[in-house]
């Protein structure tokens, strides 16, 4: 494997890992505050992508009659409007689910695992509602920005790839700042530290929980649009596998930790891309791409066996 090919795979892995990391962030934030594995999150990603698809198609239809290529500023404007609109609407969906399904259960004192099952059901509901209303055919996500291919020293990359990676990194930095430097972030960290005492100190639990769902869902929407822009294919079940895998990534990083979600997501992306890439090296031809899941999950299993609370997770001391 020459350096150029290695860098090429590295870029692909960064892009692929960005999706995992963005989705894993949503899992990890909700988990940190509520100790709830929000299994509907993968489908929120799907909902975000579809909302983005409809907004983008609508805007493209309004602005152009399809014949002339749009000016550069217009396509950027559409991209930004699509992202913002989808983030807002998807956040609404996320908070709505929390209000309708999770909060009543929580207030009735149902066990944690019943909430998890409810989340699974909500995810299934979103998938099949999509399938039943929009049909089984895949949707093609419109090309919002004309794809350009650059080649530097044998490594070729597209502008979309750069935007995906750049946005993912930017979002993570902003999120880390929100959680570390703002009042609402402090409240989130406080709640994940002690769920009994913190509400007594006047921290409004429900507001913080809603805020968490807003952030998590809008990140999933962002990931959905990026995914659509990069691969151009949307289907009703696109969120299932990527959602489960992102959850695994979040846990391997140490669930409840923002840095953990990033590291876990990129790690999973790297492993998956490089398992496939290794198959091209002489001597490793047996390693076909069908081994991707097998190798990736075995590595993650080994990591969890060695470090049971994930890479960044800190074992909470138990009082006896």
């Amino acid at each position: 494997m020459t350096l150029a090919i290695f860098l090429q795979h590295l870029l692909n892995a960064l892009q692929w890992g960005s999706f995992y990391a963005l989705i894993a962030l949503g899992y990890t934030m909700v988990y940190g505050v509520l100790l709830l594995i929000n299994f509907a999150h993968g489908d929120i990603f799907m909902v975000g992508a579809y909302i983005g698809f409809f907004i983008a198609t609508f805007l493209l239809g309004v602005v152009s009659n399809g014949a002339t290529p749009l000016p550069l500023w217009a396509s950027w404007l559409i991209l930004i409007l699509t992202i913002l609109g989808s983030m807002v609407l998807t956040a609404g969906v996320g908070v709505g689910i929390e209000r309708v399904a999770y909060r009543p259960l929580r207030e009735r004192g149902a066990g944690r695992l019943y909430l998890v099952i409810t989340a699974l059901m909500i995810g299934m509901f979103l998938e099949y509602l999509n399938l039943a209303t929009l049909g089984a055919a895949d949707r093609g996500f419109p090309e919002l920005i004309e794809t350009q291919i650059y080649t530097v020293g044998g490594v070729s990359f597209t502008n979309v790839k750069l935007i995906v990676i750049g946005l993912a990194v930017l979002v993570m930095v902003v999120l880390e700042l929100i959680v570390r430097r703002t009042k609402i972030g402090m409240a989130m960290r406080a709640i994940s530290y002690d769920k009994v005492a913190v509400p007594l100190m006047g921290v409004p639990m429900n507001v913080i929980i809603s805020a968490t769902f807003v952030i998590g869902s809008s990140l999933a929407a962002l990931a959905g649009i990026m995914y659509g822009s990069a691969y151009h294919i949307l289907s009703f079940d696109m969120g299932i596998l990527i959602g489960w895998k992102a959850f695994i990534a979040a846990v391997v990083g140490g669930i409840g930790e923002i840095r953990g979600a990033m590291v876990g997501g990129f790690l999973l992306g790297f492993i998956e891309i490089f398992v496939v890439a290794m198959g091209q090296i002489p001597g490793f031809e047996w390693l076909s791409s069908t081994y991707r899941d097998l190798v990736a999950f075995t590595i993650l299993l080994v990591i969890l066996t060695i470090k049971p609370t994930g890479i960044f997770g800190v074992a909470r001391r138990q009082k006896v």
Partner: protein, 347 residues
């Protein structure tokens, strides 16, 4: 006299189900529904041991089912049927009848050995981290099967139909339903007796407080290994039965997270730590799937909604952690253990 009620009811059920199927009173569709009911009961009751009684969160039950299905299926096809891969049958077809349960047991043992994969990490890991381990094991099993070209890879494994046909040629009774019924009864008895043994009390102690259990001389490691191996083994048994369903094939796509989710839903719907709840919800859920079949795609929109509403109305599942005999004490005369029914008689 009281002791005889339960065996009599089981015998009656057996006669009705098997006799009805044998005489074609139940058509093939209903036989299939009955088969899936039995398999679902085995899966649900066995997962309840981990998720309900021990309070862990295993979401990879379908993986163990897959191991059981493939091991049992390959064994029976290799031994009793002509196959492209394995060639002529090793043993005459008549032997299939006595040896079929042996193949089922070997499949269950194989599944319980794979269960060690989650039992060993569970010494140090708990809760959501263990959930991931089970999830990963499910993916690993599925992925491993997909990569074995000998047994069909992603296309699946066929040939079990010939085994069942061979058995039917020798003696025409609904063999699969018989073994499913027996497997179901054995599973329920094993879990029930296991949970009322001192070992079972140790399992419940781990759920309440692992450290306290350890202090009270519960050998937590041993309990965990036994629980995981038992539960996974029974899932393998369900898989072995499933492999011989009239469709005649198994493929890795059947044993995904979705299948695991289905089993989990049945466990939590019935109530954590309630065998009768598991049985009721497994029967109910299987029936619900069939009743809503006319809705087509909308079936899977309606079912999750129904379940969410049900969760909101009864946040602990149908029976919570109680048994049917706790809700209707009179049933204790039939289903309760001996001491319980004596206690009732002396009231």
């Amino acid at each position: 006299m009281r002791k005889l009620y339960l065996p009599l009811i089981v015998l009656l059920l057996f006669v009705v189900i098997i006799g009805g199927s044998w005489l074609r009173i139940f058509n093939e569709y209903w036989q299939l529904v009955l088969l899936f009911m039995g398999i679902n009961i085995i899966l649900t009751v066995s997962l309840n041991l981990i998720n309900g009684y021990m309070g862990e969160f295993s979401c990879g039950h379908a993986g163990f089912m897959a191991v059981g299905a493939y091991v049992t299926g390959i064994l029976t096809v290799w031994l009793f049927a002509e196959d492209k891969v394995f060639g002529l049958p090793v043993l005459p077809a008549a032997w299939a009848i006595p040896l079929f349960p042996v193949a089922l047991i070997i499949g269950a043992v194989a599944a319980s050995l794979v269960g060690l994969l989650i039992a060993i990490p569970s010494f140090r890991t708990r809760g959501d981290y263990l959930a991931i381990v089970t999830l990963a094991v499910n993916y690993i099993v599925k992925s491993a099967i997909e990569n074995m070209e000998v047994i069909g890879g992603p296309r699946g494994f066929v040939g079990m139909k010939r085994v069942m046909n061979n058995m039917a040629d020798v003696l025409d009774v609904p063999w699969l339903l018989i073994w499913t019924f027996i497997g179901m009864i054995v599973t329920i008895l094993i879990i029930r007796n296991f949970m009322s043994s001192t070992f079972g009390k140790g399992v419940e102690a781990i759920r309440e407080d692992e450290i306290a259990a350890e202090l009270m001389s519960v050998n937590t490691r041993r309990v965990k290994v036994v629980v995981f191996m038992l539960s996974c083994g029974l899932a393998g048994l369900a898989g072995g039965l499933f492999a011989h369903w009239p469709g005649g094939y198994v493929n890795p796509g059947t044993f995904t997270i979705l299948k695991s989710t289905e089993v989990m839903v049945m466990v939590y719907l019935g109530g954590m730590g309630s065998i009768s709840g598991s049985i009721i919800s497994a029967i109910g859920f299987t029936l619900l799937l069939e009743v809503l079949r006319p809705l087509g795609v909308f079936k899977w929109v309606v079912i999750p909604l129904l379940l969410v509403v049900m969760m909101l109305l009864r946040p602990t599942g149908i029976l919570g952690n109680r048994e049917l005999t706790d809700v209707f004490p009179r049933l204790r005369a039939i289903f309760g253990s001996e001491e319980e029914s004596y206690a009732l008689a002396s009231d």
